[in-house]
Symmetry: C2
Subunit: 336 residues, 2 copies
């Protein structure tokens, strides 16, 4: 496809975008009407929304449109999974400049579609408008399949803390990219295209998880949300947290403690949950800490002591080169 978004025109662009969509049996009415209709067999629907801006959440010189689509879908679908639900659908609100090559939004849609397919969901609708800054607003929907939603608020003292998925890979990839490198590829790819363990969310609900979230702001920060909502303290055991050799090597090369990436790096969308102490967890879950009664210590500690850098307020100025810019995190119902 040649030309710009402006040359293609609104209706031409919408045709191109919708032609790329693969429906699932859950989609009763897809794009093209006033609204979409998606099955919600549980009689409850789980919904979350996020906004990504060019320059703030992605860079076109670092990520292809396809990667941005994969990532935008992934971070929203991970929010659905982190409630214990199975993702069913996403809707796309898209702002594009008229001079943008028309391939950018169509490749974005390819990425959205493919990530949806990984999670078992489908793109069901959207809106496209012209504006100065590329903006990708995603809303994801999901179904609980008769499970009770797992919130951040149910962790109990005595519970274990367990995680599944990748930790610190995206942050390490970001550190590499900010220094002008494009490798090691595995980490750069992890930054461009996270791989949330979608299946683990509903599985954790079935295993009796008492609290759950996906790791989007960083493990310590996101566990802080659980600790806050559950009114508990969480202590992590650094000895139980694996750092891959290759990540250590990057840390040495760039002069950063890789534990920083693992504990503070977000955007990998690992799933972290608390479980009753007698739970039998499948092998892909790793117990990394325990839930304690609240104390004078910070809500999340590592080896019983405060961990320095835990948190991200992107309206403030606490960002640094080790931490990629992120969207508003714990926004109402739309936390990452």
């Amino acid at each position: 496809m040649k030309g710009t978004v402006g040359e293609l025109g609104e209706f031409g662009l919408i045709r191109e975008l919708t032609s790329r969509i693969t429906p699932t049996p859950a989609v009763r009415i897809g794009p093209g009407d006033d609204a979409a209709v998606v099955t919600a067999p549980d009689r409850r629907v789980v919904a979350s929304t996020d906004i990504l801006l060019e320059g703030r959440h992605f860079r076109r010189d670092w990520s292809t449109a396809y990667d941005v689509g994969r990532k935008a879908a992934a971070q929203n679908l991970a929010d659905i999974a982190a409630m214990g639900a199975v993702p069913t659908a996403i809707l796309l609100g898209l702002v594009v400049p008229a001079e943008l090559p028309a391939t950018w939004p169509t490749e974005l849609m390819d990425g959205l579609r493919d990530e949806c397919q990984v999670a078992g969901a489908a793109v069901v609708g959207g809106d496209v408008v012209r504006g100065d800054t590329i903006t990708v607003a995603i809303t994801a929907l999901g179904d609980l399949r008769n499970a009770e939603p797992v919130t951040r608020g149910g962790a109990q003292p005595g519970d274990v803390v367990a995680v599944t998925g990748w930790l610190g890979w995206s942050a390490a990839g970001y550190a590499v990219l900010t220094r002008g490198f494009r490798s090691p590829r595995a980490f750069v790819e992890a930054h461009r295209r996270p791989e949330p363990p979608y299946h683990a969310g509903p599985a954790a609900a079935g295993l009796g998880a008492t609290a759950m979230t996906d790791v989007s702001d960083g493990l310590v920060a996101d566990l802080g949300h659980i600790a806050e909502a559950s009114k508990v303290r969480i202590d992590l055991a650094s000895t139980k947290i694996d750092i891959p050799t290759q990540m250590s090597d990057i840390g040495t090369a760039v002069g950063v403690d890789p534990m920083q990436w693992v504990l503070n790096g977000g955007e990998d969308h690992a799933i972290v949950a608390t479980f009753p102490p007698d739970v039998k967890l499948p092998a892909r879950w790793k117990v990394i800490g325990e839930v304690l009664h609240p104390s004078a210590l910070p809500q999340v500690t590592v080896d019983g002591a405060p961990w320095a850098r835990a948190g991200w307020d992107h309206f403030g100025d606490n960002g640094d080169a080790e931490s990629p810019p992120r969207g508003g995190s714990v926004a109402p119902g739309g936390g990452r």
Copy 2:
């Protein structure tokens, strides 16, 4: 509240926004977790999304933040109603500059909340990020209550075309505003704050509507979407379309045929539907035309003849001072 969004900080702003929300019994889990949970008793959920940009869809010197909130919610909730569903929830994706007064997003939220209350819905979640252009991305959800969704595709030759709600009021108000006036207030208010007849959507479904949409791009354009999807022609009878005296007076004052506003003006979010010819419609519905077999004529005619200006492609340059800028209209599942 004093200060800017930047001074308030991300978490402070989120606190302010969520404190303004009024939940309904349909909200099982509201703001503050990875995702919201909303009841969907019908086992299907209706979903639509729209994006509004400052400068393109609203102007801060013409509309208060409260009005923008009312309007943003209204246009999305109207999409839900136009499927025959009852609105249940909206999610907000919000981009705000750091230097924006903090009262702007909080008053926006007040507007969203109040419009949701009119429709019986609630704000259940969102995301807030910092950026240059104020952007309001809304996703609305709804429940069909065992009705079948009414799409744009079911109109049959012989059906009557009926409308309920306001037509041309927003466009007349826009014409007034573009000329530097602030009155007549009723029309300016209609532009700032549409009043979609939400109840009429599910009611029309119950009355056996064969096709339905809300009027967001203009009556002729939106009926064109029905005609296209239903593969029919629609003929409107100009004698059946009332023009209020006050609107005629404005037309005379500014030199515009008010029929232009009624037939091409969008954003009032009236609901237009087709019904079998023997339908008994309540008094608030007005029959304005009929559904015919397709012919060589345009898909929508007025008194059997083509009507000049029908359509809006906001990526193109067909806007003029009589037509307010609008968002992408018939976007997949997110048509206005």
